[in-house]
């Protein structure tokens, strides 16, 4: 029993820190609210799609920026997609990098774009690790027989 309470407290603290540090925004809460008994894995499913999509996009971006003649429209199109998907799941810091990234695309600034790509990758890896840790905590709570605290 004490173990469950401990885990739940950890969960609350961890989730709160993710919001405070800007890794996640209200959109993530919206996703959690959508989850119900008919679809108990909804959040994990959507976030997994985001992970798959992001890795593809990051690879495409790296390739596009390595071309002899960079097609900035193509680069911008990938960033637009990345901005959209990260915003849809509430990965705020990734979205913010994408905003700057698009500005550099418009300016056809290669150095700026390359820097943003690195930053986007960095922020993506951070949020991915944090979300995976969050999901692991949820599993631990459920396995210990507890329920996941609802964050408002």
């Amino acid at each position: 029993m004490a173990a469950v309470v401990q885990l739940q407290r950890q969960f609350i603290e961890y989730t709160t820190s993710l919001y405070n540090e800007g890794y996640l925004d209200d959109q993530f809460t919206q996703l959690q609210k959508l989850q119900d008994e008919s679809n108990p894995d909804f959040v994990v499913e959507v976030v997994s799609l985001f992970f798959e999509d992001s890795e593809k996009l990051l690879n495409n971006l790296a390739t596009a920026l390595q071309q002899k003649t960079v097609d900035y429209k193509q680069v911008d199109s990938h960033v637009h997609q990345f901005k959209g998907s990260s915003s849809s799941i509430g990965a705020q810091r990734v979205t913010n990098v994408c905003v700057h990234f698009r500005n550099f695309c418009e300016e056809k600034n290669l150095e700026g774009c390359l820097r943003c790509l690195q930053q986007a990758k960095h922020e993506y890896i951070l949020v991915r690790n944090k979300l995976e840790a969050l999901f692991r905590l949820e599993q631990q709570i459920l396995q210990a027989g507890g329920s996941i605290p609802i964050m408002e």
């Binding site: 919206q30 959508l34 499913e45 799609l49 637009h80």
Partner: protein, 177 residues
């Protein structure tokens, strides 16, 4: 009223509720956004069909090329509302909106355009072309609740019902209470 007849009535009513749920067509090239919008609408008691392109959407609305040539008055699944992303490769949400509003058989279907970008000229353009609303992504449950009022129902009832608010009146009309 014995228990068996009330069970039958409940079951019967449930089946009717399934058939009469408003049918929403969600159009978006992003799989993540299709999945989220689908959940938003099913949580609001709607039936949802998704399409990953404007072209696919038109086919589902019974406007595909094949139907035009064969001259069959093909009625696709009856759609009460179209929700389309603006930025899509190939046919944009705006192009889709135009095609819907230009077609004699489906121009009455309300179209909502959603976009991640707040561009006033874009918004104006869509509203002028006949979009019911323009909403910024990402959509929230509260946005979807408001949209229910736009859905035209297929059953022969006068006027539009926001089912959530008028559920009891609706049931009275149908003789279920």
């Amino acid at each position: 009223m014995d228990s068996s007849s009330s069970v039958n009535r409940t079951v019967g009513m449930k089946e009717e509720v399934e058939d009469e749920r408003p049918h929403v067509l969600v159009v978006d090239d992003s799989l993540i956004d299709r999945k989220i919008m689908e959940k938003l609408f099913t949580n609001s008691a709607c039936k949802v069909t998704t399409a990953d392109s404007g072209q696919k959407a038109l086919e589902l609305l019974g406007q595909g090329e094949e139907y035009k040539h064969t001259n069959i008055n093909h009625q696709g699944p009856k759609i009460n509302l179209v929700v389309t992303d603006y930025c899509m490769p190939g046919m944009t949400g705006y192009d889709l909106l135009k095609k819907v509003k230009e077609s004699s058989d489906i121009k009455e279907i309300p179209v909502i355009v959603v976009s991640s970008e707040n561009v006033p000229t874009r918004i104006e353009k869509c509203l002028e072309e006949g979009a019911q609303e323009f909403i910024l992504k990402p959509l929230k449950q509260s946005d979807v609740k408001k949209l229910r009022c736009h859905m035209h129902f297929t059953q022969s009832i006068k006027g539009r019902f926001c089912i959530g608010r008028y559920w009891d009146s609706w049931r009275q009309i149908r003789g279920e209470m």
